[in-house]
């Protein structure tokens, strides 16, 4: 009985960790606006946490600049399983307009498989909420697969 409860609660209380790898902050303010009263992600249980240790879903924004590359890898490693990586905006997906620049270390999937990518520059908060809904599905499968 407890096991289904735990599995169900993964769907009900995913915690987010926001990881900015050199983004122009367009997507960052969109992520934060998801928690404002108008879009209110908290009613679905989302909560921004301060440390990767508490996170289930990692929201990555920005084209991976060379400065933030190894920090990205280290922080993503510190997130306990099951974890889901969501690329917010086009930059993590494909380094957007910064493609080919000397200081950009390429799209996110060079370092970690992207589970959900929300396109848009910046994506609309509703799109982010869609992305998070998809991320919850993947989180549940990963949790089932993890045991």
């Amino acid at each position: 009985m407890l096991k289904e409860l735990i599995a169900k609660s993964f769907e009900k209380s995913p915690w987010l960790f926001h990881l900015n790898t050199g983004s122009c902050n367009g997507c960052d303010i969109e992520i934060v606006s998801v928690i404002t009263p108008r879009y209110d992600a908290e009613r679905m249980g989302f909560k921004l946490t301060g440390t990767p240790r508490h996170a289930d879903i990692v929201l990555v924004t920005g084209p991976i600049t060379s400065q933030s590359k190894d920090r990205l890898i280290r922080t993503l490693a510190q997130v306990p399983d099951p974890k889901v990586v969501v690329a917010i905006g086009s930059c993590p997906r494909s380094t957007n307009v910064f493609n080919g620049s000397y200081s950009v270390e390429g799209p996110l999937d060079k370092y970690v498989p992207i589970d959900v990518s929300v396109a848009g520059c910046p994506p609309k908060p509703e799109a982010i909420i869609d992305g998070l809904a998809k991320a919850i599905e993947i989180l549940k499968e990963k949790r089932r697969a993890m045991k």
Binding site: L2, K3, I6, A7, T51, P52, R53, S68, D70, R71, L72, I73, R74, T75, A77, Q78, M146, K147
Partner: protein, 629 residues
């Protein structure tokens, strides 16, 4: 059974002399003599418990069989009542554990024979002071104690600050001793006897001005030995530079001897506890000592110096409780004195273990030792929790008694200060725990090992004692503390035993009944049931853990997988251990004026401290002349 007290004192002094003769060359002989001497005196004193504590009779022993003739005591008499024996037990236990600890602790030092000689002299003098029934003999023992302590403070003279600390202790100690001597002489000039029982009988409500003057001098002298605040600056330096086993003896025995002398002086000799003004004086001193001691401790950067200031603040607790002259107050005071010796001794031993393993006790240099020295860390935590008064440990019971006593005597501000001081004690020990045992470990302590077994045994013994006295308060009070309290309060029996019956019939009021501190009074929920709860809850949590879909904790695998690195904002982990004076920024910032004033007051110059001492003695004299009738 008559001869046990004198035998226990003599064995210690004999051990000191034998060490000089035989032990100067061979290390093991020295250790053997010290161990034998301390264990003999330990056994003798423990055998005294049954007759004195349980059957409640007082042992008297006249040196050279010079019995009093025509009701006039000429010879030196030893008188062991339960109050003296209580402090004697504390002293003897501390001596034995300290010697066992110092076997391996002083192996790196040279000339340890002088260490053992001085230490045995110190312990012999403390025992002598506690058992003696003669005022001048008490002065002699205080002299020996002070000079042995000065010698031991400067034992590691290669350490910077050791000689200066010893000089400070010497100057202040001799001021204290001269005050005591002056007081003793003035009393002698009045009552022409030195036997405490007879003095107490003769002084019963005929307090002439010169005996009051003697009372003030003695009170100042003894409180200097107990390192009460106005007189305290010598203590932190002495405790810091002395080897830890010695500073454990200092904080376990030496300032307890000062407290014993104050109790004996105020309760037994002068029956002064009936005067409201004396109670107020003791309570004011105690509260100031409490507060100044702990606030100074918060600002310290060295582990042993921090512990030294805590000893001062805990002595403040004891004196406040003793100042509240109700039976409950005295019970609280004595119980806290016992607990203080246990947990403070334990903490000094952990400081010694840290010094032995790493070579420094500076809070700003250490860190993360819990992984390398797990037992020392566990024992330190027990000591830290007991001193800050967390329930299952012994600090809680005695501190609770102090609050109950002070608040029932309508001293609300004192209770509030006491509770605040207790929280600040907790704060400073969290600071020590974080700076030394937890957090990240600096590179140079990579190959630190746990301290040898012979040092861990005394630590564990004290830790277990700490827990036991916390879990069974009524057992401890019934057998140890209530007899001592009754001995201090009904003085008549003390006098009759020494001077023959009927001598003190005018003092023999009805014996004050002692509230047995059981769970109703101690107000403490029966801790045994608390342990049952502990077991039940642990069971509950494990059931939930096993039944639930838990995955076991993934323990760090070797190699540099950054999953097990500490979250550092994504950065690679470099050494950034939050320690020493990085902590409590908010508090120090808010109280910066107070800390600034305290910093200037402790200037470190000896004549400032001497000025402080003389100034407070004059205040005592003026206060006592004005207020006592």
């Amino acid at each position: 059974m008559q001869h046990y007290p004198i035998l226990s004192i003599v064995t210690l002094f004999l051990g000191a002399f034998l060490t000089v003769i035989f032990g100067s060359k061979n290390e093991t002989v020295r250790k053997f003599i010290a161990l034998v001497a301390s264990s003999i005196s330990l056994i003798l004193v423990l055998m005294l418990i049954k007759p004195v504590m349980i059957e409640n009779n007082v042992i008297q022993y006249w040196m050279g069989n010079w019995r009093p003739i025509h009701d006039w005591a000429i010879g030196i008499g030893l008188e062991v009542d339960s109050l003296g024996l209580f402090f004697g037990i504390i002293a003897v236990v501390t001596i034995f554990l300290s010697i066992v600890f110092s076997f391996r602790y002083t192996e790196k030092d040279s000339e340890t024979d002088k260490y053992y000689v001085l230490f045995l002299m110190l312990s012999g003098s403390v025992l002598g002071l506690v058992f003696t029934g003669d005022l001048f003999n008490m002065f002699v023992m205080i002299e020996i104690m002070t000079f042995a302590a000065v010698g031991l403070t400067a034992f590691r003279n290669y350490q910077e600050g050791a000689l200066e600390a010893a000089l400070k202790y010497l100057v202040l100690g001799s001021i204290g001793s001269s005050l005591v001597l002056a007081g003793t002489i003035t009393i002698y000039s009045q009552v022409h006897t030195l036997n405490m029982a007879q003095i107490s009988a003769l002084l019963f409500n005929n307090l002439t001005p010169s005996t009051l003057f003697a009372f003030a001098l003695l009170l100042a002298g003894y409180s200097l030995k107990a390192f009460v605040v106005p007189f305290h600056p010598a203590a932190p330096d002495a405790y810091m530079s002395a080897p830890s086993s010695i500073s454990m003896a200092f904080s376990g025995m030496v300032n307890k001897a000062g407290v014993y002398a104050i109790i004996r002086l105020v309760y037994v000799l002068y029956h002064a506890m009936s005067f409201k003004s004396i109670q107020l004086l003791l309570i004011i001193i105690g509260t100031i000592t409490m507060f100044v001691g702990v606030t100074m401790a918060l600002a310290q950067n060295d582990f042993k110096r921090l512990l030294a200031f805590h000893s001062i603040s805990q002595i403040g607790y004891v004196i406040t409780a003793v100042g509240v002259s109700t039976a409950l107050g005295l019970t609280a005071g004595l119980y806290h004195a016992l607990n203080h010796t246990l947990f403070k001794g334990l903490l000094f031993l952990t400081a010694g273990a840290v010094f032995y393993a790493t070579g420094t006790t500076d809070l700003n240099k250490l860190g993360g030792l819990a992984k390398k020295m797990p037992q020392t860390a566990a024992v330190f935590l027990i000591g830290a929790f007991s001193i800050s008064g967390l329930p299952p440990f012994n600090g809680f019971v005695s501190k609770w008694l102090v609050y109950q006593a002070t608040y029932q005597a309508n001293l609300a501000p004192v209770t509030i200060v006491a509770l605040l001081v207790s929280v600040m004690t907790l704060a400073s020990f969290i600071k020590v725990a974080q700076s030394i045992f937890f957090g990240q470990m600096p590179k140079e302590f990579e190959n630190v090992k746990e301290v040898p077994l012979s040092m861990r045994i005394p630590m564990w013994i004290m830790a277990i004692l700490c827990v036991l006295t916390g879990i069974f308060p009524n057992f401890v009070t019934k057998y140890l503390i209530s007899p001592a309290v009754s001995a201090a309060l009904n003085v008549g029996k003390y006098i009759d035993i020494m001077m023959g019956n009927g001598y003190a019939e005018k003092i023999l009021g009805k014996p004050v009944e002692i509230p047995a501190v059981d769970y109703v009074l101690a107000g403490y929920w029966n801790p045994v049931a608390w342990l049952v709860l502990f077991a039940l809850l642990l069971l509950a949590v494990t059931i939930v853990a096993v039944a639930g879909g838990f995955n076991t904790a993934s323990l760090p695998v070797d190699g540099d997988d950054s999953k097990y690195e500490v979250f550092f904002g994504g950065e690679a982990n470099e050494y950034s251990h939050v320690k020493g004076n990085d902590l409590f920024w908010g508090l120090k910032y808010d109280l910066r004026h107070y800390f600034g004033f305290m910093h200037d007051a402790h200037s470190g110059i000896i004549n400032d401290y001497a000025l402080w001492a003389i100034f407070t003695t004059t205040i005592f004299i003026v206060y006592i002349f004005l207020l006592v009738p």
